[in-house]
Amino acid sequence: MIPLSNFMMLSAALFVIGLYAVLVKRNVIQLLIGIEFMINAALINFVAAGKSDKNYMGGQMTALFTIVIAAASVAVALAIILNVYKYYKSIDPDKLNKLRD
Amino acid sequence: MNLLSILTFLPLIAGIIILVAPSGWQKQFKYITLAVTLVQIAISGYIYFHFDNSLRGVDLINSYQFKEQISWIRLDLGSMGKLQIDYFLGIDGLSVPFLLLTSIIMMVATISSWEIKTNLKGYFALFLLLDTAIIGVFCALDFFLFYIFYELMLLPLYFLIGMWGGVRREYAAIKFFLYTLAGSVFMLLIMVGLYFSVTDPETGNHTFNMVHMMNPANYSGDSIFGSLAQQTLLGIPARLLGFIILFIAFAIKVPIVPLHTWLPDAHVEAPTPVSIILAGILLKVGGYGILRICYGIFPDAAIHTSWWLGLIGVVSIVYGALNALAQKDLKRLIAYSSVSHMGFVLLGTASLTAEGAAGSVMQMISHGFLSAMLFFLVGIVYNRVHDREIANFRGLANIMPQYTAFVMIAFFASLGLPGFSAFIAEAFSLIGAFNSETVNGAIPRWMAIAGSVGILLSAAYFLWTLQRMFFGQTRLMGGEEWRTKLNDLTMREKLALAPLALLALILGVFPSLAFDKINGSVLELIHHVTGK
């Protein structure tokens, strides 16, 4: 049996890599990829922890719902990115600063 | 209605009338002022001849004459008792001659004001305000009232010099104002200190009454200026410090040498009538203040410092005379000669002898007449050719004989020729100064000898001026144009000069006219200060 802490250590690493991607990447899509990594890290924890909940399968149920919502959100995000691209002609997050003071 | 109050406030009322009167009456203003001064002469003459010589006055309150005491300000200050300020007028031997002197000088100044042409209303209003202030100073016996009149004197003079004066008038006016004010500000402190130390025997609360301040009984034990408490301020005994500060305040007016530099400037820049008043009366206020207030209220300190006063007197005499010798401007020469002659006053007072003190009061009176006459004479030349440089004139005697006659009378009178009042005054000041070592050891004998050198120097600079300006062949800087302008005296000018010359002669031949009035008070003052 693999102890839960290994899974958590792994998910922490994946989460941090995702975070790094979000902070650094010049391309919004890569930024989305970073966000997806962070979501997967959370999924790993859920599923790893859900293993010990036989009755309600809380962990795995949440994982399912998260995947579904994540997919929906990526769809909306990509629609926004397309619009942004049309408007800004670039999808570099630094350029998108119209909201600046 | 008390004569002194009428004498004091008559000019003020006239001044207000002039202010209110429409400026169309400009011509009449000078006649109104002349009328006022004549009335003043009548009143002060009446007071002078009805003055009872036997009453001594200085520190005995009931022997003051023409007294008027009305309670003026009565404030209940709760814990600090009741504030008591009286409207207290009164005169004694020391102040009565000055009343007559002031009114006569004011009359002469009014006659000399005929030359003023610009905004007469302002001029005569200020003139009369000044008149009230001066008479008030000489009559006031309440320190607060005295201080009010003392400060009131400055204001009109500042404007009179500042607006109608010569080229550097603002500088001179400001310098004069600040100089006198600096002195009188500290006097205010001493006045308050005295107020809190002295209690009025009748009413029991603090008082400003000068005569009460004079006798030590009224000082409460632990008060700042009380003689028993021997309190010290900044290391100096309080009473001595009080004396010194009051002395400085009046010394600026006298003026004594280190504090005299305002006098030449103020005189040179002031118009003739103002410089007549300035020299004729203002300098006497200083001398009178020293006699009445410094010597009256702090007699013990007076004895300690008499040596220093004598020294200052001698220095003033010699220094003033030397400076006068070096002058190129006639008016400035006479200003410095006033400093020198007022040095005799200080020397006489410092000697604390009857002859010395009486001589100094006589010197003040005679210098009043003579310096007024001198400045009027300078004014005459200045109005005609607007120049006062001694070097620019030569041989005036040939073209202005009467003017030269009056100048010779004035010059010889003020250098102390016997037969004129200045000789009696200066001789007795010196005799008093010399005598003081045997009588009370106040000042050493060499001061009298050094002082007499002043008489020689005054002869030197007066005769030198007389020789340079009036005798020899007539050569004028302005040439022919000046010769036409330099016409001889007009009747008006003779009318102003003649009384002054006559008075100087009469006082010289019959000094008893003045000495009878002064003797009583002088003896009382000497007794009050030295106890002899």
Binding site: N40, L43, I69 | -
Partner: protein, 178 residues
């Protein structure tokens, strides 16, 4: 080392390396494929922790849906972006890489530290009886739970999906109106 641990370490290494490469690589295409590999590795881990239904869902929904969407978005959006990326290094990046790395590592240490401090393995509900075994029929349990305990989130999720659908369609339409 049991075979189970070996598989776990293989999958873990696969996840970490592919994630790192996805992040570090310059070109977008390569990072998307590396993303693809990471997702498969994670699905493997699900299976390893007895969440087989979740693994399958992951593969279908995530990889099939999300990845494909990204490919489309990538292709539609930036032909020239590809080449500009290679050409010029942007003058300044929002955050210099170094501070981002420092920040991430700091966060990683904090998480690890929290993990170690809370020593999660000894938690009672983890070691308690109610433990899932290999033999259980997880899909059945999920199906029951889905229709009983989690019915409300199930319905809400469907409404949410419909909302997302409309939103995305609206955003991406050929906008004549503006």
């Amino acid at each position: 080392m049991t075979p189970e641990q070996i598989i776990f370490y293989v999958f873990a290494a696969l996840v970490i390396i592919s994630a790192l490469l996805a992040v570090v690589v310059k070109s977008l295409v390569r990072s998307i494929f590396l993303f693809f590999v990471t997702l498969f590795a994670v699905a493997g881990l699900f299976v390893l922790s007895l969440g087989d239904f979740v693994a399958v869902t992951q593969i279908i929904v995530y990889v099939g849906g999300v990845l494909v969407l990204m490919l489309f978005a990538f292709m539609l959006s930036s032909k020239e972006l590809l080449n500009t990326l290679e050409l010029v290094k942007t003058r300044y990046s929002a955050v210099q890489n170094i501070p981002a790395i420092v920040l991430s590592l700091a966060l990683f240490f904090i998480l690890v530290f929290a993990l170690v401090k809370s020593n999660v393995n000894q938690l009672d509900w983890i070691n308690g009886g109610n433990h899932l075994s290999v033999s259980d029929n997880t899909v059945q349990i999920i199906g029951i739970n889905l229709m009983t305990n989690y019915l409300f989130p199930f319905e809400v999720a469907s409404v949410f999906l419909m909302m997302a659908l409309i939103g995305a369609a609206h955003l991406a339409r050929k906008d004549k109106a503006e």
